[in-house]
Symmetry: C2
Subunit: 302 residues, 2 copies
């Protein structure tokens, strides 16, 4: 499973029905939280996410609409009796902000709170396990900001169709072969796995890019991405504002998606000045085809 749930996709300030940036990426049951605007813990409850399964939180930058919900979530984990360690990846300074508040409230967590502070201006690998790796995507914003590239690895073997041609294989044989097992046919014929399969690593890639000005340096890093979330705070008619605030327009997001040849583009981080979200889709569609619009509490399968 490689599934993304949008908890909030609006810029600047949260309102009753518009939540600021936060997403949950579910990789085979392991949950990765990406950004954490105010009220994220309430959105997690609405989305019926099991809190305890969140072990890694990635914060893009220290503007409030991307991290003001973090201290509340950390605090709630403590009150719920969490014991599993929690890893937080974010810009240098995030540790000081969180620990100052824990100190002032005399509420140290009972679980290990591990900070991984980022300051590199180049893409770097920041997390890896058997099923996923995460690296940074340096963004161009008003303060130090990173996007994140999640690469999920599937170690299933690939069926060698030349070798299996003419063999009387049942569906379960294919599954066994993909899992790396040897098989025995109904007539007793035995095959070692390598006789019928090839090495294969099927990668799925999800890239999160919020917030950033139009930035062609991203294109190379985004090659081969299955789903790209790219901020589209503005429409082209406010391109001057986008430039001034170091955000992107829907068209600019689509240009990056097209140049990087990603499979699909997911737009988000919408400014509240626009009442019609379909305008983002229309504008981006001029240069790219497969586009989705973010929506709070909507899930996308990658």
């Amino acid at each position: 499973m490689f599934e993304l749930t949008i908890l909030g996709c609006h810029s600047a300030t949260p309102t009753e029905n518009k939540h600021t940036s936060s997403q949950i990426l579910d990789v085979n049951g392991n949950l990765f939280l990406i950004d954490c605007g105010e009220g994220t813990q309430m959105q997690l409850r609405k989305a019926k996410v099991r809190f305890t399964r969140i072990k890694h939180i990635f914060i893009s930058h220290l503007h409030g609409d991307h991290f003001f919900g973090l201290i509340g979530l950390i605090s709630t984990f403590r009150l719920l009796g969490r014991s599993t360690p929690l890893n937080i990846y974010g810009p240098k300074g995030i540790k000081q902000i969180i620990t100052l508040q824990l100190k002032m409230s005399n509420s140290w967590t009972d679980y290990a709170l591990n900070f991984h502070e980022l300051s590199s201006l180049k893409s770097e690998l920041i997390y890896e396990d058997d099923s996923i790796s995460v690296s940074t995507l340096p963004l161009d914003h008003r303060i130090y900001t990173n996007g994140f590239l999640f690469t999920s690895k599937t170690n299933k073997r690939k069926i060698n169709s030349h070798a299996t041609k003419g063999l009387d294989l049942e569906p379960f044989h294919y599954s066994q072969l993909q899992e790396g097992c040897d098989i025995e046919l109904a007539d007793g014929t035995f095959f070692e796995n390598q006789e019928l399969t090839l090495d294969s690593v099927t990668e799925k890639k999800y890239a999160y890019c919020s917030d950033t000005a139009y930035n062609e340096d991203l294109i190379l890093l985004l090659k081969g991405v299955d789903l790209l979330y790219h901020e589209a705070t503005f429409l082209e008619r406010h391109a001057d504002l986008a430039k001034k605030t170091k955000h992107s327009t829907a068209l600019q997001a689509a240009k990056i998606a097209a140049a990087a040849d990603v499979k699909a583009l997911l737009l988000g981080h919408f400014s509240s000045r626009y009442s019609e979200k379909l305008d983002f889709l229309k504008e981006a569609s001029k240069v790219f085809e497969t586009i989705f619009l973010s929506e709070d509490l909507k899930t996308f399968s990658i």
Copy 2:
């Protein structure tokens, strides 16, 4: 007008339908915010409060359920283009927490942000204008905590009914007299204000006490209060937990209300372990009569 709106009245962690501590006190159109749990700015929008009219924010203590929404509200004020100064009254340390986050996000406010840090263990006057004064109510909690006593002053003059007896006064004459004006009757008779009125200062008092262990030191400070909000995190069957965590039970809150002879008691800061809020009312009713239960977004006239 002296009106209280509950924005949140639940302890510990906010959920979709249960918000943590925050209240708005409306004194003749001037708004005083008391505590500011996570999501308070969304609750303010739901309650249709005009943000700009909030000029003073009082924070009781630095546990998250009482102030994690403050940095978001300050940030939103900035994004909405606020220019009016904002005054924040709270425990020593609050300035460092807020300014650190503004510094890290490179988002200094364009309006004056004035911190009034509190550290006294005795009741002190912390704010006063023509219509209201605010003093602290030292509480007994796990960390340094203050309640707040709001005393609203009405400087309207009192009609001297002996002097006005037999005079042919219209309703607008009474209003003019209460405002301190001289009046002229239809037949041309002139009266100076002092001939028909008496000096009068009508006080209304609202006291906010959250969070605190049972604390008899409060009784003297609460004498003459019209409405007392007193935390009732627990019921008596968890009196041991209340003692351990320095909170109160509903019965203890009612005992304080009775001993201080307040006019009405408003219970709040309920623990989420209880599904039936009427149990708080039942328990407190054993020793006090006029009791209300807090409810998110409910308004009480004082």
